[in-house]
């Protein structure tokens, strides 16, 4: 088993070195058989429905909310298309951007944002897919957004400073996405094989990119939160990321 794991790690390094751009977060079109694709759709639907309900409620109060959410989706789309060098793998991968959207607009709306970004990527760039849309929404949207949001809120409630809270939120959003992607992949492709050994192997295969990428995403999220705090703290108050007294202090 140990030698197999070492071999898998070496193989993944080789593949990553020979591929210019790895989009490991998106589960590609066709990977999941029909029953698993349908299952993940069913899991994603209530979350997206709740996000749309929140969107409708908030846009009734503020007309600019829908355009803002649309633009945030465009930002998430661009961020998740940006290749970032991953030094340990000698290749490029991409961040998710769901951590920051979870922090700024809350996890429910962030799921809608992710769903939109994923659909455009699936249709026009072949990142992810239509059949894996549900699975991608669950791994990137649901897990990424909730992990980012909950980490940031928990750390802020413990009076941890903005940079560290932002960094940890980005890190956990990325790693939560990567772990969920491994679960989805292992369950979808295992066939008659047992789940756990395959899950372990897939998780190990992702380590060369996702481990450093989580750190990069953490740094990016921290940079974004700090920049917004310095330049437009009023926006963070409006989005209920900060309390008004935190800004004046």
């Amino acid at each position: 088993m140990k030698s197999q794991i070492i071999f898998l790690f070496l193989i993944s390094q080789f593949l990553l070195l020979t591929c210019s751009d790895a989009h490991a977060m998106h589960i590609s079109e066709g990977i999941l058989p029909f029953n698993w694709a349908a299952f993940w759709f069913a899991v994603a639907v209530p979350f997206v429905a709740y996000g749309l309900y929140r969107l409708k409620k908030l846009s009734n109060i503020d007309l600019s909310f829908k355009p803002l959410v649309g633009l945030m989706a465009a930002v998430v789309f661009i961020i998740s298309c940006m290749p970032i060098p991953v030094p340990t793998a000698g290749t490029c991968s991409h961040p998710c951007g769901t951590g920051i959207s979870g922090i700024l607009v809350g996890p429910a709306i962030s799921i809608v944002i992710t769903a939109v970004a994923l659909l455009i990527q699936a249709l026009f760039l072949a990142h992810g897919g239509l059949s894996t849309w549900g699975a991608d929404i669950v791994s990137m949207g649901v897990m990424g957004s909730f992990a980012g949001y909950l980490t940031f809120r928990t750390l802020r409630s413990m009076k941890i400073n903005m940079t560290i809270a932002g960094f940890m939120a980005g890190l956990f959003a990325d790693w939560a996405t990567y772990l969920t992607t491994s679960v989805v992949l292992a369950s979808g492709i295992r066939g008659d094989s047992p789940f756990m050994p395959l899950f372990t192997k897939i998780a190990i295969a992702f380590i060369p990119t996702q481990l450093p990428l989580g750190i990069l995403e953490g740094a990016m999220t921290a940079g974004m939160v700090v920049l917004l705090y310095k330049k437009r703290p009023d926006l963070l108050v409006k989005m209920r990321v900060l309390k008004p007294e935190e800004v004046t202090a």
């Binding site: 197999q4 070492i6 071999f7 898998l8 993944s12 593949l15 751009d21 790895a22 989009h23 998106h26 590609s28 079109e29 066709g30 999941l32 058989p33 029909f34 429905a49 749309l52 846009s59 009734n60 600019s64 829908k66 355009p67 649309g70 633009l71 945030m72 989706a73 465009a74 930002v75 789309f77 661009i78 970032i84 060098p85 700024l104 809608v112 769903a115 939109v116 455009i120 026009f124 072949a126 897919g129 239509l130 059949s131 492709i189 066939g191 050994p197 395959l198 192997k201 897939i202 740094a219 990016m220 999220t221 940079g223 974004m224 939160v225 920049l227 917004l228 330049k231 437009r232 926006l235």
Partner: protein, 250 residues
Amino acid sequence: MEIFSEYFKKDHLLLKVDARVKLIVAIIVLIMVLSYKGFVFPLLVVSLSLALCIRMKIPLRVFILRFSEPMFLALVLVLIKFLFSGKDAIFSLNLLGISITGYREGLVEGLLIASRIIGAVSIVAVLGFSTPFTEFMAGLSWLRIPKGLIEILMFAYRYIFVLLEDAVVIYNAQKNRLGYSNIRRGLSSFGILTGSLTLKAFEHSQNATVAMVQRGYDGNMPMLKHKPFKPSEIIISLLFIIAMGFVWKI
């Protein structure tokens, strides 16, 4: 972003077909590919899709870019299944103390998954290459996809290009000032770049709202009106699905 379909769309036969028809046919064939347990059907779908892409004069570079990521993932999955799944060993070797065994069942399973991936990707690629975004949105609204989601899709698609131009300007400015000369500076620059994009998104959303309200925006966006279906398109699509269903069944 020239890889977006809008940038190289030519006048071709599929462009004139109703987006709703294309969407329904694509979804049905996609379900067939996903639920098929062999090589023949996905490979038939890939061949048909390739022929359509050649007929649509899709640039080779765009085509390769579109398929590179799914092909890479397919290769990884074939290797994982080949080396770690099954009992009937095809080969076994010892490389620097590491024992490597390849299994027949794993290889077959891996190749089945790979064929499913390429088949499914080729369907969605043809759909994406042949359908303008606004028509696609109208098709989704006809399929009763919630209007809120479609509105966000339309806003996002409209502003991707605007924000991308902003991102390129900021990135070039950072690069000229050695903002990506080492990992530490690169991380900091990337954080500033994405933060600036978020700020731009806030600004654009405010400006867009003001402009839209002045033009009568009340929180709802109008969708394209659906024309009646053409009987010829329905008949051809039905015949195509029946033919594909026949191949799928055997």
